[in-house]
Structure formats: structure tokens, C-alpha cells
């Protein structure tokens, strides 16, 4: 790595720190800190989600897979469609309208506080361990490019991330992830462009690829570490469900959208439009490397190094630094969401219910900031542990594999099956985890679920991918048996906690009968009034917007590219005044950072 590349990487760090810190002024309450005031547009959330999905290892891992297997490397990123409608119509309305702030909080409402405690402990262990792994991976990756110290590079990354997350919260996370998402997609496409240019165009690239590299899927049952059936159950079902239904960072991102409709649009764009672009971006290095090698331009000695090798081969000084910055962006955008999510769980599921239940919001905001710093610090402390004891790294991977299917099953059965009880949930978590742990020592139990896939290793390394199907099946059995044997119906009220109660949920969210009549946004001039929480429209404008006093409306700056950064939710208090003008309380204007001199877009919400 040359001096120019190092300057580009350093400039990236400075830019992200400055960019993230700039948005700290938008986090003045815990609602802002964790959910950005629920004000963002769908495209902002969608783009920022992309960088959260792509981890630091994605470029390295998928380039290697793409080099070895070709286009089938995209399988992992192209199988989110299966669970998408269930998320959009089943899970998302529940989390959006029930005003829950964390997954354990949902578990508490659905099953009671004991189950919440188990879920909180498991999630915190998983997230803190994962933050540490991300820092460790990044330290190793940067140290390979700029030799200094694995811990030193991990510390630099941790410091930059911790600073902007601790001060800026969710607004900073979303905005920096937006920039980083664009950066990492761009990096992959730059590699494609440079590779195609060197090979002599798309046709030359296509014919330089081995025929086996041109298929969309890998063989169904081989090899053991890349069999399509294994990817289907591990990535397509278990991991996708864990990410969409269980990942606190992902859920918080979608609780930051301004409306349910925007949430649906965002997840649609993420899963079906942006993920294919990301799949191409992270795999591009491998495809280009395979074609370049076949065409005799260069050779790869170790597939694990294919991404760095091909990037170094194709990029000029400066551009190489840009791609490395994208690699760092992939890490930071994943870990910042994890830090914010860990802080949310700590504040909402540990501090607020057990330590200080009645403090004011300023207190919780301070705790949230400290928790973000603590999560980063704890993750950093794990770096030497991971570096010194590789078995701990493996143990965390095994722990994740063991808890993911049971937790996913608890959430899915929890909102899909009314009768599913707290006893069933505990049975699922304990029984499912133990069953999976047992499979690490006696992997033969997975064989009936393996579809004929070979073990591919011993003990914990056997049936790496097919363990997910076994785990899901075991968890399902434990959950069902536990619920049926328990006999009793759930004691807690299930209103709004299971599918099929959307209208009731909206009614509870609004506190009145929802206004679901069709409406189109209108643009109005603003008249500031010194009455707290006051919003009034003229009779003509209220008719155009199809709203009545008591309805929820959304006031937004007309500059679409702000993505809702300058906006506020409000309740229509009165229908009076001059047509073409909306009267808005000063407190609402201040909260939404709305400029009274500019016209605003008024949208009916509920």
C-alpha cells in the first residue's frame, strides 16, 4: 500500500468521523438516539441498511467463493425474498405499531419477564462477541495492508465508530451508513469496470469464465461447505430470519422510518433491488480474478487472498486506497449498528426495568451514550482474546450457530401461533440450544436432515450448513411439545402481539379510530404559532388532505434529498385558518428543524 492509498484511507476516517459527528445534533432524546424520531424516508433507510448487511469479511469471503464457484456466490444474497412478505405483513406492523423498543421487550410482552431475561442475556452475549469479532477482523485486514498492530488498527476503528455512535446515535448511524453503502457498492463496480476493460469487454469476460462458473446455483448436495441445500437452510432461512426478525440493529433501522408504508418500501428495496447489486459488488473481485486467471493475465496462489490480490492488480495508487476504504466502511457500518443496538437493549431491557425505572429522558440518553462507549470498549477488549485463543473465535461461532435457530423459532412461533406459550418459548430456547450443542459432539444426529450432504469435517465442523435445518426442526419440536404439554393458554394479553390484528394495532397506536382514507400530500406555507403541539389546517386544505382533527400528520421539508431529516410528526388540532397555509407550533418546528420560511409538505399518516 503506497502513500497515496494511505492518505485516501486516512481521509476516509476523517470524513466519516466528521460526517457522523455532524448529525449528533439530531439526537437530543432517547427517541432520537435510538429511532431517529421515526422521521426518515424509505430510500435513506434502504441504502443505509445495505452497508449494515455487508460486513468486513463480505468482500474477502464472497470474492473467494466467487473465484472458486462463479455466479453461484450470489445465492446467499438472493434468497431473502422467501421471508419478505411474512416480514412486511406479519412482523413489521407488530413492531412498528406496538411501540416496542427492543426484541426482548416484545418477548416480555408476549411471554413475560422471565423469557425476556433469557433473551436479553443471549442477545447481549451474541452482540458483544460479534462487536469484538468485527474489530478483530478489521484489525487483521488493515494490518495486512499497512503493517503496524492488529490491536492498534482495531483500536483506531473502535475509537472512530464509538465516537460518532455515542454522540450521534441512530441519526449518525443512518447517515454514515448511507455514505458507506454507496461507497462499498461503488467499489465493487469499479473492480468490474477495470476487470472488463483489461479483459476486452463483457464477451471476453464471459468466455474466459469456466462453464461451471456461469450457473446461478451450486450443486444441491456438494461440496459440503457450499451445497445449495445447505445455503438454502442456513443462509436463506435461518440467517435471513435471524437478520430480518431478530437483529436489533435491523429492527431499529426500520423503526426509524416515517411510516409503515415507507418501511415496506425500504425492505422491498433492500431485499429485491439493492441486495442483487451488493451481491455483484462483493463477488466481483472473484469473478474477475477467475476470468483474468483463465485468460493468463495473473494467477492466484491462495483463494483467501483473491480480493486483495485482484484489487492490487487492477487498481492504480489512490484507487486501491478507495477500495480499502470501502472494506473498512463495510466493517464500520456493521459494527456501528451493533453498538447502537447493544446500547438500546442495555437501556431498555436492563437499565430501565431493573435499575432506574423512573428517571427522566435526559438520564436515559446519558446512559445510552455511556453504554455505546462501553459496548465499543468491551468489543475492543475482546480483540486480544480472539487473537490469542482462536478456539474462542470458534466458540463464538458455535454459540451463534447454537442460539440462532431457537431464537428465530421463538419469534416466528410467537407472532404466528397464538397458543405458543412462555413454557413453549423456554423449551424452544433451552431444548433447541441443547439439541444443537449435542450435535457438535454427535454430528450423526444431523444426518437425517442432511439431504445426502457429506459431513465435511468432524464434530463441530461436520454438517456446518445443514445444522441450521436440524436446529430449526429441533426447536420447532421442543416449542410445539412444550406448548402442548403445558396445556394452559397464554396468560398475557395477545392483543397486537400476533399476526392479523393490524387495524387494532393502528387503533391502539393512534389512540383513536384510524383514518385510512386515501390521501395525497399537499405543500403549504407555514405560519408559526406560539402554542405547544398546535397544528391547524384550513377547511379547504383539510378536505384536500382528507383529514380531521385528531388525525396524525407528518410535516416534512420539501427537499426530498434530505430524506426526512427535517421533519416532524404531529396531531391535527384544529381546522381553521387561511387556505394554502398551515399553522404550526414553535415546538414542533424546532423538533423537526423545519424552517418556517420554507413551504412544507403535509402528509396524512393515520
Amino acid at each position: 500500500m503506497g502513500a497515496l492509498d494511505a492518505i485516501v484511507v486516512a481521509a476516509y476516517f476523517v470524513f466519516i468521523l466528521g460526517f457522523g459527528s455532524f448529525f449528533s445534533k439530531y439526537a437530543t432524546t432517547t427517541h432520537d438516539f435510538f429511532f431517529a424520531g421515526r422521521r426518515f424516508s424509505w430510500w435513506l433507510i434502504a441504502l443505509s441498511c445495505v452497508s449494515m448487511v455487508v460486513g468486513s469479511y463480505s468482500f474477502v469471503k464472497y470474492s473467494q467463493v466467487a473465484y472458486e464457484y462463479g455466479f453461484s456466490s450470489t445465492q446467499t444474497y438472493l434468497n431473502d425474498w422467501m421471508l419478505l412478505p411474512l416480514w412486511m405483513f406479519g412482523w413489521f406492523p407488530i413492531v412498528y405499531y406496538s411501540r416496542i423498543q427492543s426484541i426482548p421487550e416484545y418477548v416480555s410482552l408476549r411471554f413475560g419477564p422471565r423469557t425476556r431475561a433469557v433473551m436479553t442475556v443471549l442477545l447481549m452475549l451474541y452482540m458483544l462477541g460479534y462487536i469484538g469479532i468485527n474489530f478483530f477482523t478489521m484489525g487483521v485486514a488493515i494490518n495486512a495492508l499497512i503493517p503496524w498492530s492488529v490491536f492498534g488498527w482495531a483500536a483506531v476503528t473502535a475509537l472512530v465508530t464509538a465516537l460518532y455512535v455515542s454522540f450521534g446515535g441512530q441519526p449518525s448511524v443512518v447517515m454514515t451508513d448511507l455514505a458507506q453503502g454507496i461507497l462499498l457498492i461503488l467499489a465493487g463496480f469499479i473492480l468490474i469496470f477495470l476487470g472488463l476493460d483489461m479483459l476486452g469487454g463483457f464477451s471476453a469476460f464471459w468466455h474466459a469464465l469456466p462453464p461451471s462458473h456461469r450457473t446461478a446455483f451450486s450443486p444441491l448436495t456438494s461440496p459440503p461447505d457450499f451445497a445449495a441445500v445447505g445455503i438454502f437452510w442456513q443462509d436463506g432461512i435461518a440467517n435471513t430470519a435471524a437478520f430480518y426478525f431478530l437483529n436489533q440493529g435491523f429492527i431499529m433501522r426500520f423503526l426509524s422510518v416515517r411510516s409503515e408504508q415507507d418501511g415496506r418500501r425500504a425492505v422491498f428495496a433492500v431485499a429485491l433491488v439493492l441486495m442483487p447489486l451488493v451481491a455483484i459488488s462483493v463477488s466481483a473481485g472473484g469473478w474477475i480474478a477467475a476470468a483474468l486467471e483463465n485468460a493468463g493475465f495473473f494467477s492466484v496462489s491462495d483463494p483467501k487472498e483473491v480480493f486483495i490480490r485482484v484489487t492490487n492488480f487492477l487498481c492504480r495508487p489512490g484507487l486501491f486506497g478507495f477500495v480499502v476504504a470501502a472494506l473498512i466502511a463495510a466493517l464500520m457500518s456493521t459494527v456501528d449498528a451493533l453498538i447502537n443496538a447493544a446500547a438500546a437493549i442495555f437501556v431498555n431491557d436492563v437499565w430501565r426495568p431493573y435499575v432506574r425505572p423512573t428517571a427522566d429522558d435526559r438520564h436515559y440518553l446519558g446512559v445510552a451514550r455511556l453504554a455505546s462507549l462501553a459496548a465499543s470498549g468491551f468489543g475492543l477488549l475482546l480483540v486480544p482474546v480472539y487473537a490469542g485463543f482462536k478456539s474462542i473465535y470458534t466458540a463464538h461461532a458455535a454459540f451463534t450457530a447454537a442460539i440462532t435457530p431457537p431464537l428465530v423459532t421463538v419469534i416466528l412461533l410467537g407472532f404466528l401461533w397464538k397458543r405458543f406459550s412462555a413454557a413453549g418459548a423456554v423449551c424452544t430456547m433451552v431444548g433447541g440450544s441443547l439439541a444443537i450443542a449435542f450435535s457438535f459432539f454427535v454430528p450423526e444426529v444431523i444426518k437425517p436432515f442432511a439431504h445426502g450432504v457429506e459431513p465435511g469435517g468432524e464434530y463441530g465442523h461436520a454438517y456446518m450448513f445443514m445444522r441450521a435445518l436440524y436446529g430449526l426442526a429441533a426447536s420447532l419440536v421442543f416449542g410445539t411439545v412444550g406448548t402442548l404439554l403445558n396445556g394452559a393458554r397464554p396468560k398475557v394479553s395477545l392483543a397486537g402481539l400476533v399476526v392479523g390484528q393490524r387495524t387494532a394495532l393502528i387503533r391502539r397506536f393512534k389512540g383513536a379510530e384510524p383514518n385510512l382514507r386515501p390521501s395525497k400530500p399537499i405543500v403549504l406555507a407555514v405560519k408559526p404559532v406560539d402554542i405547544a403541539g398546535y397544528v391547524a389546517l384550513s377547511t379547504e386544505d383539510a378536505e384536500r388532505l382528507n383529514v380531521e382533527p385528531g388525525d396524525h400528520i407528518y410535516l416534512c421539508d420539501t427537499r426530498w434529498w434530505l430524506g426526512g431529516l427535517h421533519s416532524a410528526h404531529a396531531v391535527l388540532k384544529a381546522v381553521e385558518g387561511v387556505p394554502g397555509r398551515i399553522e404550526v407550533g414553535l415546538d414542533i418546528l424546532e423538533e423537526g428543524r423545519l424552517d418556517p420560511k420554507r413551504p412544507i409538505s403535509v402528509v396524512k399518516m393515520l
Partner: protein
């Protein structure tokens, strides 16, 4: 009869046999054969179980889910017929394509039906756009991957 009722009716027991291509006697015989087949019985047992025990009200959407049961069950058949498929020149990765889309539909379609049931994207209110878009993009995925899978190695 609205569209959803018509769709439901299409899957009522008496209409299981394909219509319009043969005489009534042939259709009845085919229908009888179909009902006595082990595959049909297996599907009905599975269907009764999950419709009866999970969140769905059987009477309303039993008809919608029946084809999905058959699709999921077909996966098992794909498993057992794989050696035969290989002899019929279907590659292992092409089998993966069918596996992904057949089993995947078992997760995908109930979600769509759920959306329809909760009225999120009702057919009745003329809000077909998003639902149609979802299906169109899904079909794009299916066709793009099928194209790559079946024609990619040949081009």
C-alpha cells in the same frame, strides 16, 4: 363472485381435476385416481395439520395453501427422483434451482396471503400496485436465475 372467491372455488375438492381437455367420465376417473394416490393423502394430512394448528383459519384460505403444500411435498419427490433427473440430463445445480423455488414458495406465499388477509394490500380497494410489483420482481428473479442456470453454461 369476486376474484378471490373464484380462485378459492378453483381449488375446491370437486374441481381438482383439470377441466376442459377431456370428457367428464375421464375427469372423474382422473380425479378419483388422484384422490386415492398416496401423494394426495400425504399432502392433505400435512395441510390439515398446519392449517389446523397454526395461525390460519382453514375455511378462508385452505384453497390458497393447498398448492403450496403440493409444492413443498414435491421437493421430497425431487429429492427421491434426483438420480432419475440426472439421467434425464438435469444437472445438480439445476436441481438446486427447483429446490430453491419450490421450497421457497412454501415460505413466500403464506406471507403474501397473510398480507391479503390483514387487508394490507387488498385486492378489493384497487391497491394492486405493490403486490403486483412484488410478484413481478419475484418472477424476474426466477427467470433471471433460470436463464443463468439453464442457458449460462451453453452460451
Amino acid at each position: 363472485m369476486d376474484k378471490s372467491s373464484a380462485f378459492l372455488a378453483h381449488f375446491h375438492d370437486d374441481d381438482l381435476a383439470p377441466a376442459g381437455f377431456a370428457s367428464r367420465a375421464f375427469r372423474n376417473a382422473a380425479c378419483e385416481f388422484w384422490r386415492k394416490s398416496l401423494f394426495y393423502r400425504y399432502c392433505r394430512i400435512a395441510e390439515d395439520w398446519y392449517l389446523g394448528h397454526l395461525w390460519l383459519r382453514p375455511q378462508k384460505i385452505r384453497g390458497y395453501l393447498r398448492p403450496i403444500t403440493y409444492c413443498a411435498s414435491s421437493v421430497l419427490m425431487v429429492q427421491y427422483l434426483r438420480p432419475l433427473l440426472r439421467r434425464r440430463a438435469m444437472t445438480e445445480s439445476q436441481t438446486s434451482f427447483f429446490y430453491q423455488y419450490l421450497v421457497g414458495l412454501a415460505f413466500f406465499v403464506p406471507g403474501l396471503l397473510l398480507g391479503h388477509r390483514v387487508g394490507a394490500w387488498s385486492f378489493k380497494e384497487g391497491e394492486r400496485g405493490p403486490l403486483v410489483l412484488l410478484l413481478v420482481v419475484f418472477l424476474c428473479y426466477l427467470f433471471a436465475q433460470a436463464f443463468l442456470e439453464f442457458l449460462g453454461p451453453l452460451i
